[in-house]
Amino acid sequence: MIPIEAVIGFGLIIFTIGLAGVLVRKNLVIMLMSLELLLNGVNIILAGLGRHLNSPRGSIFALFVIINAVSEAAVGFALVLAYFRHRKSYDTDSLNDLKG
């Protein structure tokens, strides 16, 4: 039985890595991948806590997150592809058309 603290710690580490990736990297694909890491870090915590509390709710909620992540990935990659076709680049530095 893995202690709950370890599970949460692991989840937080994954989440933090994802967060850092999203904030630091400028490659759109990497950012999307980091976004997956964020979600999955949360999933780990959700699943772990569900098991710890002996409730199916955590796993069910994690499943929803996975479904959302899939949709998000699909839409996200479609956008990235469209952007790439337009700019021939993945770099977010050139992606500042909304600059005020």
Binding site: L19, V22, L23, V24, K26, M31, T92, D93, L95, N96, D97, L98, K99, G100
Partner: protein
Amino acid sequence: MFALIPLFPLLGAAVNGIVGIRYFSRRAVGVTAVGAAGLSFAASIAAFAGLLRSAEPVLVKTLFTWVPASLIRTAGGTTIPFALDLTFRYDSLAAVMTLVVTGVGLLIHIYSVGYMSHDRSYARFFAYLNLFTFAMLVLVLGANLAVMFIGWEGVGLCSYLLIGFWFTKDSAADAGKKAFITNRVGDFGFLLGTGLLLFALGTIDTAGITAAVEGGMLAKGTATAAALLLFLGATGKSAQIPLYTWLPDAMEGPTPVSALIHAATMVTAGVYMVARLHALFSLSGTAMAVVALTGAFTAVYAATMGFVQTDIKRVLAYSTISQIGYMFIGLGVGAYAAGIFHLMTHAFFKSLLFLAAGSVIHALSGEQDMRRMGGLRKRIPRTYFVFLVGALAISGLPGLSGFFSKDEILASAFASGNYLVWGLGLAGAGMTAFYMFRLIFLTFFGEERFSGETAHHLHESPPVMLVPLQILALLAVVGGYVGLPRILGGGAWFGRFLETSTGAHESHLAAGTEVLLMAVSVAVAAVAIFAAWTIYVKRKGEPARRFTERFRALHRTVARKYYVDEAYNRIFVGGVFVAARVADWIDRRVIDGLVDGAAALARGASRLSILFDEGVVDGAVNGVGRVHLAASSLLRRLQTGFVYNYALAVVLGVALVITLVIVVL
């Protein structure tokens, strides 16, 4: 029946004025005009015969209601109904006037056919002449002052039109205006008098006024005021002091006009009006004295100017003014019938003189200056003869019409006890004889002073002009016998006939006194004629020239008509100019100043409004915009456009929320 009298001239004027002026031949125009005048004269005779047969002394004919009945408030404070009808009244006075107007008018119409035969505006002339006859008949037949006023103004209008008949000549157009405007002053008095009577009595019917006055319903002061106002109208129309200046200038009109309007009829309208309202005038001793003195002074004053005139028509014009003065003497001393009698005889001999003067002018191809006449006695003997008859009549040669009427007036003046008036009248009689014979001697005697060219064209007038002259000459001789005084074996029939309209007037003179007065006036006239003969025939004008030399200033003053025209110009015309200049100044300075001030005020207000609008309102609007611009330029920095910046913000926000939740909970 008598209402037909004015109808014919009106029709004649309408036909000639509307149709004839375009389409009629000269002959047709003449037939229409003379026919209208003739029918009118025939109607007058018929009406006169009817009046003589009639038991009623007064005939009344109401044509239509002019002003429907309404309530008016009179001086007494009572409210009474008042209505105005267009009514004609025919009595002995109106009968005499219509006979004179239509009779003399007819002769002058006939004369005009010859006199005006070379004029271009033939139809216009006769239309005016007919219209004048109509207006004059309305004036004498009008039963109330309002109807009379229609005629009063109508004759004034026709006078204006006919004086200015040759309107392309400046002097004629000016003379027309002068006559009209001068008359306007008098008409104003007439209207005021009418208004005063309406206010005081509630009626302006002449019979009603007479009845009310005789019933003692009119205060003496009111009567004086009304009479003097009406008399002001009379001085304008009848060319008396102070409103006489227009009549000499009126000689610019064609000579038949001078004869008809400015000698025989229109200028006697004032005399007629005073006689018509004799009851009113008799009530006020002041008014009567004013009438008599005005007449007496005018008679002498105008005669002095007759001495020095060189224009043949102007001599006659001053003579007319002087003779109308006589009529007013008669009226002023209460001898109304005598005044009207003189009016009638004057109409005969003065229109005769004017028409004969016209015949002279015609013969001399338009020459009017007596200094270029002379010796015409043998050249145009028929004209000379009728002229001489007229001159003798006006001078009061016993047996001629002027003798009877003038002596009746002088006798009445003497009987009234006003010896100043009588003395002036007697002096005027002598002066009249003098200037008339001066005219005759200058024109018909002595050497011929006209050019050979004129002499070549010299001709006696055609019968169409001579026959009316001869008829008038006959009237000037016998016209006086209708009023032959008792003292000379007559019945004073004229005066008795007029008693029904002007009241009885019995002379209180002893027979001897009356005869003596006649002798005196005849003697004065005879001396005057003899003096004229001595000066102008025997000594060929030498004494007159020497007199002029010696009293140059006096002569000039009289010849320039005592500078009255100049004075009137200075006072009234100049006064109007001064008033106009004052009004102009007020207009420019005060009224325009007010308007300009208002404009400046509006401009200032709008400038303030602009300031407020641009500064405050626009400032507020722009300020709002500027605040937003500034705020947004600050805030837009936040929108870097970099995804990670937004992501960081989300993270930080979440962290903040979590921190808050932890801290708060």
